[in-house]
Amino acid sequence: MEGHAMPYYGGRAPETGLAVYTQKVGMWVFLCSEVMFFTGLIGSYIILRFGASETWPQPGEILNIPITAINTFILICSSVTMVKAFAASEMGDKRGTRLFTLATAVIGATFLGVQIYEYSELLGHGFGPWSGLYGSTFFTMTGFHGFHVFIGVVCMTWATVKAFRGGYDNGNYQGLEVLGLYWHFVDLVWIILFTIVYLI
């Protein structure tokens, strides 16, 4: 090693086996474990749902589909602003990076706000985690997903502050890309949950 200068990538040296920098590989491995986590929840729901299909409420009978459809659209919008933030950072567009990271944090918080409103409405009508299999599976799945969104919003708030301080300038966009992977995964899980829990 002596006598040969190795380039410094600020801890972002690409993993030579995958041709991808290490943080991204780490996030993908983490997301693989998250796939199995949500598979456990969704799989349990499917099995319980088929086992009690006669007594299971029909779509829209208890849950509010229009509000949740709008909330799904809101989360999809946050994925667009997230990917635009990354693209802006990659192209050296500082203003765009700041604007889109801020927008992602705000839209993500809006999704959480609508979910809290939905929970309060359901609980107000006596539908809670104690309301049989339907209630417990619904609140478990959407609750864990909401917790993931909450973690994402906290991280996006931190990323917004970092963006306004110029932390993603000069080609230093890797952190934003890795955070984006997490954010899009949360969006992807909601797409599946919305279909399985609310519409089927």
Partner: protein, 108 residues
């Protein structure tokens, strides 16, 4: 492998990723439009059609997978990543199917 070879391999990896990035900016707003339309179509299928329940379920699952693929391929850039990353990303899917199918069989 000495440090010079390692250096070349590392910078090669940077070049591979930089090459991938050149193609990594699809029309995000078009993808967003598709996602919005598919979400609206899902709600319409549930509310405004008199299709048999089994058909509705199949249609909903197809649209959900379609939307999930759009997010994974374009927003998560899997379409532009090296093949090995796509393999890594999709590695839990067979396990997930196996988990659900196995427990479903046990339940019955």
């Amino acid at each position: 492998m000495d440090s010079t070879e390692r250096l070349h391999e590392t910078t090669g990896a940077v070049a591979v990723e930089a090459h991938a990035r050149d193609h990594a900016h699809p029309r995000y707003l078009l993808v967003w439009l598709w996602l919005a339309l598919l979400t609206a179509a899902e709600v319409a299928v549930v509310w405004f059609t008199a299709l048999p329940k089994s058909w509705v379920v199949v249609a909903l699952l197809i649209m959900a997978v379609w939307k999930a693929l759009l997010v994974a391929l374009y927003f998560m850039h899997l379409r532009f990543e090296p093949l090995r990353v796509a393999v890594l990303a999709s590695s839990p899917l067979p396990l997930a199917v196996l988990l659900v199918m196995t427990v479903l069989q046990e339940y019955r």
